[in-house]
Symmetry: C3
Subunit: 430 residues, 3 copies
């Protein structure tokens, strides 16, 4: 996959455009987000009714919100949803009341250690209401009676998620999943959505080996809904990647699948190491993003997660400071590049069987060998052929060959193509 | 198991009381020792007749000794069994003779490099007699004719060993074994006996999961006798620990079973590492204490050995300097604490199967999840539940969960209890 | 196997005697070489006709050369085969012509970075002709017409290789293979041939356990021919060693078999580590000497390669500087010593089954145990017996015992002999 000039800027523009929308795990903010994504890549949008049983969960009522504020006795809005959708506790039930500050405090969420930032909070499954504001704002409020109003609706409706499929040469799938449920938070997860969109666009310009399925769904309940509705077909998912926190300026972090030695794990480890980027490889934990669901032991899919700085690992996490300035075009372009490189390996990684395994086959008579030596490129290509012949026992993959030989994966893959074309190896087991 | 105030002092008092008795692999000294132990915990005492075939061995004649000395021409006892039972070579045949020093020397054992100490020596299976004395004493003896007398008996009798059982919820057993054959040597092995007694007392105040069997038997021949007489039932022994050298002031040493990855090995490694005590983990060797017999390849039990400084690793080893001052209450209490912690892990270590393995089960609706976050304790408890759910595939144990997650075993075990009570996991395989 | 005084000098004398012969992958130079080797050890010489299909290859025409030179207009030979057989490109077709230097240059091979050395070059399967000379010689040639003449023959004939067998107690074989196709190059591979000859002589003075088969054959095509002609019997080859570059002054290098954990790999790693020689252990690569063929995936034999400095790892490699001065008697003697030590381990490495596996057998009653302790040698011997008894489960070999116990292999093997003689263990699985 060739690098795409300006993709960083285009991704950043998408982040900025999606930023103001009030997303949650259901509701019109999600639909508006998918409408915009759908302008870039075709989407199949799914609407799943409230009350639908999905694995151990039930699709909740749909939440929509039009306005919300706290007003002082003069009628001035001291906290206003219109200024930032973070100001309302996600899934707040409607409220219209006037109450003294002392009573109101029980519904206010702040970050005392980061007094100028507004936190992001939700209460999906326990009906309540609340506001999020900076500690500085709260400290400046005089004791008084305040009008509080949340013009929200919690009603039967739908959970909305979308898929985009890039057809491959085989039905085996690679899934790329990102959560769409966070309101105005840029790194978590608009950057992940933007990288996924660019990746899908690039893949669509090829005919990849695998079928690539992009899933845009709310966190937890969305992935669970997708898994519940695709339980019969989930065994075609051979590999996957959850994208989140894809745009901050920190180094890349790959979190391995529960299996730890899934092919996607080996590919990401290889690509990150080979690229000589500073990076971290983390073991699986059952906390994080939707890899939690894909890697739950009943499914145990080979799905890892690629982030820059992982969740909760940066002070801006889940605060108003996770705004579009916090993510950079260069970082998103770098995340995209690693996805591109990883899928380029994954997509060509095969197991072959040497059809001439007794002694070395005579490469020279097939035109595969420079008879009098030659350039170092040619030597590396020949060495790669010998390695592929040596290890192609139907069990070891080209990635195994690359890792054992120390040769670049691409050199190994090209050598394998030449040997396959010469009839010396065939794909698959013996 | 709660710490027991003053247990160190009580253990030391037991060491001091047992110290003067002349133990060997058979004889009345062993019986007197078991009588005293029996004052603390009920014992089933076994008497196995001389000549009984036990595995590849035969129970030897019983040895008893009343008096022994070397007297100079004036009749003064220059070496006297009454002063220390170490002075007589264990299992010495009776002798009554007068001989010049030159002839006597062939029967004298000293430690030229530790000239003020009396060595401990035995000759169980080669009939002979001898005395042990300090090099200083020997050097001070003038050339003269000496009266030597050993008033011992070697006669058909019995080998004596004892068992104490703490019944558990299951018939599967944990054995705790210590050797009872050494005369006046405090660390080797009165400290081990004392720790075993305290451990048995503590376990008896609970209803442990496993049945705990304490074995007090002479080294080698005693363990072999126990194995021979329990060959039919030995497969119920799931885990075990040999206690020896349990009271010196050195750091703890765990010697792994022959299998090296037995559960007892993993538990001790985990507990010692988690406790942040300085300690050593040693690989199995076929030399040492009765783990040699329990781990012989035909049995190959999961039995490790817990010492402080291992045998032959301290200069006082097998000398008169291994006296009650050499062992400390604090060290024995520390050894006891590690046994207590290890058995607390072993006793609760189970494999579970996640009954809701597809996606995460919704913890909130079962009251297992704080809906709005909370204290760090609560977060750790929730994380532990997610880890238990993720790894409970019927193969991985709670110890695996603790090690992979880095969470304390206790937190993991509590989480598993909560999940089991909520019907989300069940003990055992799928 | 005892060290043989003066073997280094004798090996060096053989190198010097073989050095002037013009070897190639076929031809009379190989035959003359084998004649001389045959003066030291009996050889079975095989002649395989041109055109014989061997695995994926075909035995080529036989090449012989009588004279070759480049003469200047005065008739002076400026490059002369009689001075060094490296001067002719191996397998050069005959030529007799006069041509200007400009045209001749296309047939001349030099080493511009090592201007005083003559390179070694061949073109076995692409018919051409050429001369090798130093860059200095080339630079001194004035522009002029030169007479070039190569009096060679390429004609149907034979490929020649030889075997020497030292019969063992079992039909299972160890092969020692060295290539015989290089002309005047001392380290690569006359030193390997010389070490193999001495090793064969030493083995013949014993009755080894394995049958040792020495193969003297041209590189690549020779090993392939041997494999093709022995395909039915190749499964009796249990272990093997390719000897090359056995005489330079560098440290030893063992290159592991493709399997990496073959017994020969473990033996060489053990012997080199135990000897405390500086050395390198390299992983398998599908490039190098005839281990490439023996380890091709269809055969996948346990064949490693022992060199001092590996091919292409020294500046004299494949140049006129690889002359008899480049190899030393001491280095060859050292290589021989490691082969001797390795085969002494390999030849005695067995798996045993403990026939008395329940508890320790009583060694004392069988005279295997010093009842009152004793010298450190005796203690080590006893410990070795306990280790052999502990690990003899029919799976673990004496080398496993040596490695796990840290005891010298020889001590372990002697202990095993004593236990076997006492009827406590038997060779093989349970």
């Amino acid at each position: 996959m060739a690098s795409v000039t300006g993709s960083g800027d285009r991704m950043h523009a998408l982040v900025e455009r999606l930023y103001p929308l009030c997303r949650s795990i259901t509701g019109d903010g999600v639909r508006a987000t998918l409408d915009i994504v759908g302008e870039h890549i075709p989407l199949q949008v799914h609407e799943v009714p409230t009350g639908t049983q999905v694995l151990d969960w039930t699709v909740p009522q749909e939440w929509n919100i039009r306005d919300a504020y706290i007003a002082d006795p003069t009628g001035r809005r001291v906290v206003d949803f219109a200024a930032s959708n973070l100001h309302v506790l996600g899934y707040s039930v409607p409220v219209a009341a006037t109450m003294p500050l002392a009573e109101l405090r029980g519904h206010l969420h702040t970050l005392p250690d980061q007094p100028d930032l507004v936190p992001y909070r939700t209460s999906y499954y326990t009906p309540t209401w609340g506001f999020c504001l900076s500690q500085d704002t709260l400290d400046a409020l005089p004791e008084a009676d305040y009008e509080v109003r949340i013009d929200s609706t919690l009603a039967d409706g739908h959970l909305t998620y979308a898929e985009h499929v890039v057809p491959g040469q085989v039905a085996d799938e690679v899934i790329v999943s990102c959560h769409t449920c966070h309101p105005s938070l840029a790194n978590d997860n608009l950057a992940g959505i933007a990288v996924a969109v660019s990746l899908a666009q690039e893949l669509a310009r090829q005919t990849p080996w695998y079928t690539y399925r992009f899933i845009f769904a709310p966190g937890t309940i969305g992935a669970i809904t997708w898994l519940a509705r695709n339980a019969e077909r989930v065994d075609r998912v051979k590999h996957g990647l959850v994208l989140a926190c894809a745009g901050d300026r920190g180094q890349l972090t790959y979190k391995q699948s529960r299996r730890g030695d899934a092919e996607i794990d080996r590919v990401l480890r290889h690509v990150l190491a080979a690229s000589e980027r500073p990076h971290r490889i983390n073991g699986f934990t059952p906390y994080g993003y939707d890899e939690r669901q894909y890697c739950s032991p009943g499914f145990d899919l080979g799905v890892g997660s690629l982030c820059r700085t992982p969740y909760a690992g940066y002070p801006e996490y889940h605060t108003s400071a996770d705004n579009p300035d916090f993510v950079s075009p260069e970082s998103m372009e770098d995340t995209l590049a690693v996805c591109r490189e990883a899928f380029a390996v994954l997509d060509r990684n095969r197991r072959y069987t040497n059809l001439s395994p007794y002694g070395e086959p005579q490469l020279g008579k097939r035109g595969l060998y420079d008879s009098l030596g030659g350039r170092s490129d040619a030597k590396e290509a020949q060495l790669a052929m010998l390695w592929v012949l040596s290890l192609s026992d139907g069990e070891q993959s080209l990635l195994d060959v690359a890792e054992r030989s120390g040769l670049p994966f691409d050199t190994v893959a090209v050598a394998a193509d030449a040997l396959r074309d010469a009839g010396l190896i065939k794909a698959g087991g013996g």
